[in-house]
């Protein structure tokens, strides 16, 4: 039901862009105003969300560890699983962000006849997630050929690598296939597994269908129903030059694509997609486990009034001297 609702929502958004541009002629609204609103919403929303997270106190180190902590020299210490300093924590974070290291340990519980509960390794989610995220990044960077003029050398190189196999014309990008394939798996995973379906919400399906819609319209424009690509570049250059232009007759699919992207980035700060920023701020990941090495003082503890022995001695020096008590300072 959640899945159907999200699918319908995405289809309605697509129809909205279609009728808005080629029915009502609101190309300027869908091509300029909405993208600008979306970009501002994304940037401001992202910063506010991160600042809100940053205001929560982290009084103590709470990293999740699954290796031996650094202690005595003859006990073998696992630097990555239980980082003892900032650099190790940085390495662990880098592996987490670039290669989803913790997801690699993903396991699956299955109830077999008997009844017997069986746990097993399950790498498919890790693989699907990794392929999806990396492909999306490459596809996004490739789009800089529309955003920039002249196009930087690195973008050309990436495109050439991505069209390495020279299949078809326009040459099929490897990442287009990987992206759509991985997305299909990620949607299918939620739909086909009854337990996953039970815990999946609109907030899970909607971004998936939205990105799937973006990917499909993008591929459709490149390989099948071509749009006026020079006009597309003019429009996007206009947006980034803060000098918006709306060339005529670009084609409806472009506006559908652009509107879905606008919705995606405007929705970003309010959704689970914020894991993009959140991964960096995870206290169970980004802290070194130095609880026993360093003293951590809770920052909101009330100030304790203390009276040191030096101060005590200063106060009662004369009396103590008379009574013949030993003094630190004469």
């Amino acid at each position: 039901m959640n899945a159907l609702f999200s699918l319908v929502a995405v289809v309605v958004l697509m129809l909205l862009a279609l009728f808005g541009t080629y029915g009502a002629g609101l190309q300027y609204l869908f091509g300029v105003i909405i993208p600008y609103i979306a970009i501002v919403t994304f940037l401001v929303g992202f910063v506010l969300r991160v600042v809100r997270w940053a205001r929560s106190p982290v009084p103590f180190r709470i990293p999740t560890t699954c290796g031996q902590q650094k202690s005595l020299p003859w006990i073998k210490h696992h630097e990555l699983e239980n980082p003892s300093n900032g650099f190790s924590a940085f390495l662990r974070m880098a592996l987490e962000i670039l290669f989803f290291r913790s997801l690699f340990r993903n396991t699956k519980a299955d109830l077999k006849s008997g009844p017997k509960l069986v746990y097993g390794s399950n790498k498919w989610l890790w693989l699907g997630g990794l392929v999806f995220h990396w492909s999306l990044l490459v596809v996004f960077i490739r789009h800089f050929r529309f955003f920039t003029e002249p196009v930087p050398f690195g973008i050309n190189l990436l495109e050439e690598l991505d069209s390495f196999f020279q299949v078809g014309l326009p040459i099929i990008y490897i990442t287009d296939i990987l992206l759509l394939g991985a997305l299909t798996y990620l949607v299918g995973r939620r739909l086909l597994d009854a337990r996953l379906r039970y815990i999946s919400l609109n907030a899970d399906y909607f971004p998936l269908f939205l990105i799937l819609g973006i990917g499909c319209t993008g591929a459709w424009m490149r390989y099948f129903a071509k749009v006026d690509i020079v006009g597309v570049k003019q429009l996007s250059l206009g947006l980034f030059n803060l000098h918006p232009v709306v060339p005529e007759g670009i084609g409806a699919f472009f506006y559908i694509h652009l509107f879905l992207v606008s919705v995606l980035i405007a929705y970003f700060p309010f959704s689970k997609l914020m894991h993009m920023g959140g991964i960096f701020l995870s206290p169970t990941r980004n802290l070194a486990n130095n609880n026993r090495v360093k003293r951590h003082v809770n920052p909101w503890n009330p100030v304790v009034k203390i009276h040191t022995y030096e101060e005590y001695e200063d106060e009662f020096r004369e009396v103590m001297k008379e009574a013949g008590m030993p003094l630190e300072k004469e």
């Binding site: 929560s56 800089f144 955003f147 002249p150 326009p170 690509i229 020079v230 980034f240 000098h243």
Partner: protein, 131 residues
């Protein structure tokens, strides 16, 4: 904020990366002008129109060329018959480039603008070289 400076540095890096197209385009200063495409063609006797309507060619020329290549190289079918019965030799160098001899303005301007690198010229000689 706790660990404030680290988070602020991270946010600054993020905002900078997220707005790369804005400041790149401002620095490049190329504006939004479309490429200056010259589509005028040389007068070739007996040739007054293209193998396909201009609208189709504008968006789908690469598919036609790809089809032609496969049909010639793999099927030895060298004659293209248009919908209204005109016959053409399926050849980039001898048919297309006959009229569209101005590769640098006709082909390259758009391809450069869109950062498209057609691999036609890995085998075919460029028109200038032929002269």
């Amino acid at each position: 904020m706790f660990d404030g400076w680290k988070i602020i540095v991270g946010l600054i890096i993020f905002i900078t990366l997220a707005t790369v197209p804005f400041w790149y385009d401002a620095a490049a200063g190329k504006g939004t002008d479309a490429p200056d495409i010259r589509i005028e063609t040389k007068d070739v006797p007996g040739r007054d129109q293209c193998v396909m309507p201009a609208e189709y060619m504008r968006s789908d020329h690469m598919e036609l060329l790809n089809e032609w290549r496969d049909q010639v190289v793999r099927g030895n079918q060298r004659v293209h018959v248009t919908a209204d019965g005109r016959k053409y030799s399926r050849s980039l160098t001898n048919t297309c480039l006959d009229c569209h001899s101005n590769k640098d303005t006709f082909c390259d301007r758009c391809h450069d603008y869109m950062s498209v690198k057609p691999y036609c010229w890995e085998c075919h000689l460029e028109p200038e070289v032929m002269k």
